[in-house]
């Protein structure tokens, strides 16, 4: 972000200094813990079903397993969501859509990769049309299983909440930040 010349004062670039000051303030203990506490209990996954694990994802949201008690409520628009669940196999065609959905979500955002296919292809490991999700998103939690039980989804939510409370999500790898290429056409 470029600042006009009038923005240059003795402390250097005003905007950068302000951002640093805000970061410093937000990352101090009382504010940070309040922020992380509230993020941890408002994980809203975007309603985006990539494959057949969606059946167990839907079961996790049903009355028997009731993921809403963790503050986990599937919602429609990616603009109001902060969690992307990759439910099973990610095909090349779907990966482009998934990356667009991921980029539309506001920060801080998290990704849970559900199922063996989302880890390393699973039963479709030698298919010509699949993508490993960790190649295109920074995945926070992997759920093994084919398909994972709804209890495993609940477990993943708890793990992600713990990760958020410990502020471990802030250390993201740089390689995912260049949003130019989707990386599906190899």
């Amino acid at each position: 972000m470029d600042c006009p010349r009038s923005g240059w004062i003795f402390i250097g670039r005003l905007e950068e200094s302000a951002r640093k000051a805000a970061d410093w303030l937000v990352n101090k203990t009382p504010l940070r813990s309040v922020r992380d506490w509230s993020i941890a209990f408002s994980l809203w996954p975007v309603h985006f079903t990539t494959s057949c694990c969606g059946a167990e994802f839907a079961a996790a949201a049903n009355p028997r397993f009731d993921a809403e008690r963790f503050g986990f409520l599937p919602f429609l628009s990616p603009r109001q969501c902060n969690l992307l669940m990759i439910e099973g196999t990610l095909t090349k065609k779907m990966a482009k859509a998934a990356r667009i959905v991921y980029e539309q979500m506001p920060d801080p955002k998290f990704v849970i990769a559900m199922g063996a296919c989302a880890i390393d292809g699973g039963i479709f490991y030698n298919s010509y049309n699949i993508v490993r999700p960790h190649e295109i998103f920074p995945v926070d939690v992997f759920i093994p299983g084919c398909p994972p039980r709804p209890e495993a989804v609940a477990r993943a939510i708890v793990l992600l909440q713990r990760k958020i409370r410990e502020a471990r999500y802030l250390k993201r790898e740089k390689k995912y930040e260049s949003a130019g290429e989707v990386g599906t056409d190899e």
Binding site: S51, C52, A59, N62, N129
Partner: protein
């Protein structure tokens, strides 16, 4: 619902040159048709508030849908090709991922086709057990469809109820097979497990509960004035069109065609059971819902009969039982669970072809297997019901209002991973 004469389904199916000037229109947000009317193009999905997995490109003239084009292939996981690289037994778990909510029904015809080539027949008890699991799966598949239909028209109660009640049938299937969704229960030669103790009481309890709940469904969802207003006479599929387009399953039967692969093919225990095929004449979205409700009732009737008539005897073919070493065979007899020897993976059908079909919750599934006498098939062709029904998106939405699209989508009960394979 219909206005401005946009519905011209009898003559123009949307395949030939229609009212829209092609090409080039597709990529512009707005254009004009032959009469100078402005058209809007709306892309729905693949991130949308329902089952996901697919995009619908809708062209609108005001509020009237000129054309709705389903863009499938988002879940194309190349199952037919992968099955050529795997042994016959390993393809069963592969194919059940196509319709994970109905996994017994989609693999049963495959197993029957393999059995035809191998020249082996399942014992009678195995046929009854297969029928039992297939009907449990059919009920849970229909309930899944109801839940999605409910959430399509923003009826969250129906979603919560039917997904909550679906768990009962999923649990029953889990008790029988050991897995919630991916059972891999039906294998060449029989089934993988015997009937567990106390299953009958649990199943009868589930049936009693479900019969009561279906009455609640009728009150709060199906005969709800809002639902009736949105579903009745929306997306009407005539009998003529249904048979001409090759529609299968409840969508076909809701249009007045009495066809069911369970009757036509006479497989499993179905010839010995007494049940009806629900048929309705209206062909609209409400009829498609009601046919599914009736099918749930008939499935429960079948389950009751299967549990009453369950014959004693082996649940795995003797021909393959002899492959199991004697120590393991004793274990199988004690626990009622097959432990397959490693040699079982090298099933080698002779060179030839086999076809089989079966009725899933969504409709008829068809398998064509070509073998060259190897341990792996040369080619497996699957024609799934969802792929045959996807044409309805184009056919039924013509001339409907835009808000009818979710209703039509929900009533077709389209399951994209099944269609894309």
């Amino acid at each position: 619902m219909t206005s401005q004469g946009s519905r011209s389904s009898e003559t123009d199916m949307g395949y030939g040159p229609g009212t829209i000037k092609e090409p080039g229109f597709r990529y512009r947000p707005m254009g004009r048709d032959a009469e100078g009317m402005e058209l809007y193009e709306i892309f729905i999905g693949p991130q949308h508030p329902a089952s996901g997995h697919m995009r619908i490109v809708v062209r609108l003239d005001g509020d009237i849908i000129v054309n709705a084009d389903p863009d499938i292939g988002y879940v194309h996981r190349t199952m037919e090709k992968l099955s050529e690289t795997r042994e016959y037994l390993k393809s069963i778990p592969l194919f059940e991922r196509a319709t994970i909510i109905d996994s017994a029904n989609i693999t049963w015809p495959y197993v029957r086709a393999v059995e035809q080539m191998l020249g082996v027949e399942a014992p009678l008890r195995a046929k009854y057990l297969r029928t039992l699991l297939a009907e449990i799966n059919r009920i849970s598949s229909h309930l899944y469809g109801f839940g999605l239909t409910g959430i399509f028209i923003n009826h969250s109660t129906m979603y919560m109820w039917s997904f909550g009640d679906r768990e009962i049938w999923v649990q029953l299937a889990e008790e029988l097979t050991g897995a919630r969704l991916t059972h891999t229960y039906i294998i060449p030669g029989g089934v993988r497990r015997d009937l567990p103790q106390g299953f009958k009481e649990k199943a009868l309890k589930a049936i009693r509960y479900m019969e009561r709940r279906l009455e609640d469904y009728m009150k709060i969802f199906v005969y709800n004035p809002v639902t009736v207003a949105r579903f009745r006479e929306v997306g009407v599929l005539t009998k003529n069109d249904a048979s001409r387009l090759g529609i299968v399953g409840p969508n076909l039967r809701a249009s007045g065609v009495h066809y069911d692969a369970r009757i036509a093919e006479k497989y499993g225990a179905y010839p010995e059971l007494d049940f009806e095929i629900p048929v309705m004449e209206e062909g609209d979205s409400l009829a498609r819902l009601l046919v599914r409700i009736e099918e749930i009732k008939q499935s429960m009737r079948i389950i009751k009969q299967v549990l009453d008539k369950m014959p004693q005897g082996p649940f795995f073919a003797d021909k393959y039982m002899r492959l199991i070493p004697p120590a393991l065979r004793k274990h199988v007899a004690e626990t009622g669970r097959i432990k397959l020897p490693g040699a079982f993976i090298r099933l080698k059908p002779p060179a030839g072809e086999a076809v089989a079909r079966g009725e899933m919750g969504h409709g008829e599934v068809f398998y064509h297997i070509v073998s060259t006498g190897d341990t792996k098939p040369y080619r497996v062709r699957i024609i799934t019901p969802a792929f045959r029904n996807v044409v309805l998106f184009r056919h039924l939405t013509r001339g409907a209002r835009f808000m009818d699209l979710p209703v039509i989508y929900g009533s077709i009960d389209y399951f994209p991973p099944e269609g894309d394979r």
